[in-house]
Amino acid sequence: MPEASLPTVLVVDDNHDNADIMRQYLEAKGYPVSAAYSGEEALSLFESVRPSIVLLDIMMPGRDGWEVCRLMKQHPSHGRGVRVIMVTALDQWDDKRQALQTGADDYVTKPIDLPRLVRVVERNAAALQGAA
């Protein structure tokens, strides 16, 4: 059963509609998905859900995506196994450079192109398998 091996995804976006669309689309593709609507909630779900892939919006009130990414990557027990994909409206050189600095593995640009989103998730899932 191919579905059984799909990694768990955590979608984080303060815009509920965005988060839910991404969630539904990925669920339709067979991924187990959880959604969080703030940085704080994302960190809490990160511990309970233990996702393998996190789709992380950068501009959120409170703890922004940069900070959340850094904290996730530093997590003592599951910081290493997680792949963080930044979701961003920015497509500038220095944004990507900053994403690297915080430990992110990939990024997708807004507005979200859903088939592209799935391709990005797929290649990160493949990278996870390669590492295992």
Partner: protein
């Protein structure tokens, strides 16, 4: 007092083990459908562990548990079950089979989740953050606040304590050159090595703790155990070079000679005596400061010695050149060589250190001249097939009045590529460009080194109109699994193609990295993967293996 109860529908012996780990909790087993009812009937339940694969039953259990603020943990036999558990937002889950220890851990974390609801979310995140501050996530070592708290009782009991301050110099350089991922890996190796070393040293029997303070320093508290004499100063002095050797050796075997040669440790020490009139915390901080100053003092003295070494090296021309091949990505044919100058003296082996010392002693021009002339000698004698010579030139060097003598020495300027690093700030841009174009007219080509190392983007590179763009090592390290790096390199290649420049990937260490950069359209590659003596590339190019340092030392014949 009655023990808390784990209510479960499973006979899994690991759950009994877990109860043991949790300070002898009780376990009550209720099969299948009876479990949900038991949630309300059994007294003192704190946690429910279910292995049911019936979604309705699970929902029922979760609802009843929520009403009573009990934690629900699901033992999942399949990925489906796990997915369902996550959707129902159970407090924790584990994959069956799990050890008792893991289940106990899950119970603890589930308990921390259930009790307080919404308001506690922020608290939990904050605690998560604070916990990270107490232990260094790379090394697992306690940080300073934890150490101070723990040493309070010890120092009162014993009346004295020795603070050792280990100053690791140039770790920031590693980050600058190779990126933070490499630095993290090196720090981890360092911490591991230091711990192993101390466990086997005279400090073993004492009660000690180690910690990072600001990422590249360790503080080490030595509180002698009762009935054991404190370690003497002589013993500590004796320990330091051995520690340096041990840690350096470990770094070399794990991360290679290049990184190991950057590395130095200085150790300062201070005694702290218990004084009931002064707050202990202040005493300890004072001790740490004193030890840190002592370490700095040693470093200063060592620097003075280095300057003497450098002056001697300049006098005796004790610099040799390593030639690192640059290969065409597709064919792996040698295109040129980058000349890397190294001091013949052991203390100046690393070019970074050598140039740092020169900057401090205001001898940059002198060192630059020597390195250039050594590189050109190497070009004349060893680059006999018309290969390009890639020559590192600091923007500072262009101002050297003797720089124009380069022409008299260089046999063929069109075979020389001058590398300028993006890292050095160029102060007088118009003047600098003027100098570049003068050199360009005489036939020299240019490469921008460490491109993409900063946030500056492509504009500053375009300004220099380079013929070659050498990508920063941090972009290449693990590029095969990082898609952001791939994207940045792709952008750079497109940009270079527009500008008519060639892109060189430096620091290619693994086959996967080589394949990735080749696919991204990078024109040339340079790195350990391609010129290790055992590699085909070297075998094919035969005598080019002469770029190994052992041969080159013989060639230069400088005194050591």
């Amino acid at each position: 007092m009655k023990q808390p109860v784990i209510l479960t529908d499973s006979d899994d012996p690991s759950i009994r083990d877990a109860a043991g780990f949790l300070d002898s909790w009780d376990v009550v087993v209720r099969r299948d459908r009876e479990l949900a009812a038991a949630v309300e009937e059994v007294a003192d339940v704190r946690v429910i562990i279910t292995t049911t694969d019936n979604p309705n039953a699970l929902r029922d259990i979760v609802d009843r548990a929520r009403a009573r603020s009990l934690a629900v943990i699901v033992g999942c036999a399949s990925d489906m079950a796990r997915r369902r558990a996550i959707e129902l937002r159970v407090d924790e889950w584990f994959l069956v089979p799990a050890t008792g220890e893991e289940i106990a851990g899950r119970v603890r974390s589930a308990l921390s989740r259930v009790a307080p609801a919404a308001a506690a979310l922020a608290d939990r995140v904050e605690r998560f953050e604070y916990e990270q501050m107490l232990y260094d996530h790379l090394t697992g070592l306690p940080t300073l606040p934890v150490m101070i708290e723990r040493s309070r009782a010890l120092i009162k009991e014993r009346g004295e304590m020795i603070v050792l301050y280990f100053n690791f110099v140039r770790y920031s350089k590693i980050e600058e050159i190779y990126g933070w991922e490499k630095l993290d890996a090196v720090l981890e190796t360092t911490a591991q090595a230091v711990r192993e070393f101390l466990d086997a040293s005279v400090l073993r029997s004492s009660r000690v703790m180690v910690s990072f303070t600001n990422d590249d320093d360790f503080v080490f508290f030595h509180v002698p155990a009762p009935n054991v004499a404190a370690v003497t100063d002589a013993e500590i002095t004796d320990l330091v070079p051995k520690l340096q050797e041990f840690v350096g050796g470990r770094i070399e075997t794990t991360h290679g000679e290049e990184i190991a040669s950057l590395f130095e440790i200085y150790v300062g020490r201070a005694h702290v005596y218990y004084n009931p009139k002064i707050r202990l915390q202040r005493l300890i901080y004072r001790g740490i400061r004193e030890a840190a100053n002592a370490a700095k003092g040693i470093e200063q003295r060592e620097r003075g010695r280095r300057v003497d070494d450098l002056k001697r090296s300049l006098r005796e021309r004790a610099v040799y050149v390593d030639l690192h091949p640059i290969l065409l990505a597709e064919s792996r044919q040698v295109y040129g060589y980058e000349a890397l100058a190294r001091g013949t003296l052991r203390t100046l082996r690393s070019p970074e250190i050598m140039f740092d010392v020169a900057a401090e002693a205001d001898l940059l021009w002198e060192l630059g001249r020597l390195c250039r002339s050594r590189a050109i000698e190497a070009m004349k004698t060893r680059l006999t097939r018309g290969e390009f010579l890639f020559l590192n030139v600091d923007p500072h060097d262009f101002a050297d009045p003797q720089f124009s003598q380069l022409d008299q020495e260089v046999p063929d300027p069109s075979r020389v590529v001058i590398e300028i690093t993006e890292r050095t700030a160029i102060k007088d841009y118009p003047k600098f460009r003027e100098r570049l174009s003068a050199l360009r007219e005489r036939g020299y080509r240019f490469a921008v080194d460490d491109a993409g190392s900063g946030y500056a983007g492509l504009g500053s590179i375009a300004n220099l109109e380079p013929d070659f763009i050498k990508l920063d090592i941090s972009l290449i390290n693990c590029i095969d699994t990082n898609f952001i790096k791939q994207n940045l390199v792709e952008t750079m290649v497109r940009f270079a193609n527009d500008q008519g420049a060639k892109v060189i990937a430096e620091g290619v260490e693994r086959a996967e990295e080589y394949e990735t950069v080749k696919q991204l359209g990078v024109h040339m590659v340079q790195g350990f993967f391609l010129h290790r003596p055992s590699e085909n590339a070297v075998a094919r190019t035969g005598e080019h293996a002469a770029s190994r340092p052992s041969d080159t030392i013989a060639h230069v014949g400088g005194k050591t």
